[in-house]
Amino acid sequence: MFFENINWSYVLILPLIGGALGGALVLVWWERRLLGFFQDRLGPNRVGWFGILQSLADAIKLITKDDWVPPFGDRALFILAPIIVAGAMLMAYAVLPLGPGLIIADSNIAILWILAMSSLAVYGVLLAGLASNNKYSLLGGLRSAAQMVTYEVFMGLSLLGVVMLTGSFSLRDVVHAQEDMWFCIPQCVGLVIFLIAGLAESHRLPFDLPEAEHELTAGFHTEYSGMKFALIMAAEYLSLILISALIVVLFFGGWLGPKFLPSEFLSGIVWYGLKVLIVINFFILLRAAIPRPRYDQLMSLGWKILLPLSLLNILITGAILLGTQ
């Protein structure tokens, strides 16, 4: 009975996992190329057409590398940590709509599910820092825990405006509710807060304090090598794609095209892909453009500015909803 809304779309699981991991692989190359462009240098351009096979070469190198487990650390947790990070990230993709009707589990708690999975991914990072038994890893893990617990709070709160306007936690309903107007207009505050929280949750560069290479070598994954390192990297890019896709679904109308164009102009999946690509490129641009804040600045920005702002957003959205009904 609660399994009845999960049907033939089981077929999608394997292509989705393959597509997401492949997308993460291509994204590593794309980010390096784009950063090269922003910073007026070349970036990887030797392997294959415009260097597109660079990630594949890197992957082969990582597979053949010595997979070293530090003898001074906690062996079981050290191996478990990358599995948790990547597993939780892939689980979150289960409720993500890929196009009209293309969704593995159309759940009525989809938004909560994604929040739950991204909060489970914290364990991977924490355990990686703890199990490495290395002061840089420990500091990175601690920073990551505090940062993610902080930003999770108003990541959830910033979404509540969208949930209130839709009246549902289902991502399909959220997209259908945006047929008249994309939520980026009435929920512009929520969008900005979610964008910042998403940056912090996926450890993207302005907020990559858990792995800040200038101070902590590589933070929580200092001791990782070979495929375990590759798994952690893949999870970071998976979460970048996830956050971008979520922003598109929640605030930019998902697979819906702009209203002034005829609906047969481009198909839904193409619109969706284009929008996700634009958001991803925006994230990469942020990485190139904004310097890293200090750790206490990051925390006080979260608790003192973004949290009250997201509560205010909920209050005003609720008042307007109550007034118009």
Partner: protein, 173 residues
């Protein structure tokens, strides 16, 4: 036995096993990981009982926030071999007798009340959508929600007070 019922038994068995492991581990971080698995399997049981909203909140709040803070403290104190040694001193066989008796009594009482109750939630019963949970919380159980809110506010103010005194002392030195 249908799929949901067998899933219930599997997750219940996982919950009990991991809860026992969480109590008996000497390494604090291992115990916490077992506790997370316990909470996740309880979330599965909530889901099977037709309460997906409660299941999601179980993961977000308990597994995703509260135990993360526990682990955070374990990491900050940097508990090493000395704490494992201390734990094994505390976890002597004699220590288990009184807690075992007490929880045995509690288990009997609990089992008795569960068997006495007639309209309990059923596996494969009605699914409660999130909207209904919200309506119930803010109509029928409004007083409980308000009281919980006041209690949390009191805890928040208390924590702030303790933290501020610490900060002021540090500033003076």
């Amino acid at each position: 036995m249908s799929l949901s019922v067998s899933l219930f038994y599997i997750s219940a068995a996982v919950a009990i096993t991991t809860a026992i492991m969480a109590v008996t581990r000497k390494n604090a971080s291992h115990a916490l990981i077992y506790l997370v698995v316990t909470l996740l399997s309880i979330a599965v049981i909530f889901f099977l009982l037709g309460a997906p909203f409660a299941a999601a909140l179980e993961i977000v709040i308990y597994a995703g926030a509260i135990v993360v803070l526990f682990l955070f403290v374990v990491m900050m104190l940097n508990l090493g071999r000395s704490s494992v040694a201390r734990e094994s001193q505390w976890l002597r066989p004699g220590m288990w007798v009184l807690p075992a008796i007490l929880s045995g009594v509690l288990f009997i009482v609990f089992g008795y009340t569960v068997l006495q109750t007639e309209n309990s939630a059923m596996i494969e019963g009605q699914v409660v959508p999130p909207k209904e949970v919200g309506k119930a919380l803010f109509h029928k159980y409004l007083l409980g929600v308000e009281l919980a809110g006041v209690l949390l506010l009191a805890a928040l103010v208390g924590a702030f007070h303790l933290g501020r005194r610490y900060l002021e002392e540090r500033r003076e030195n």
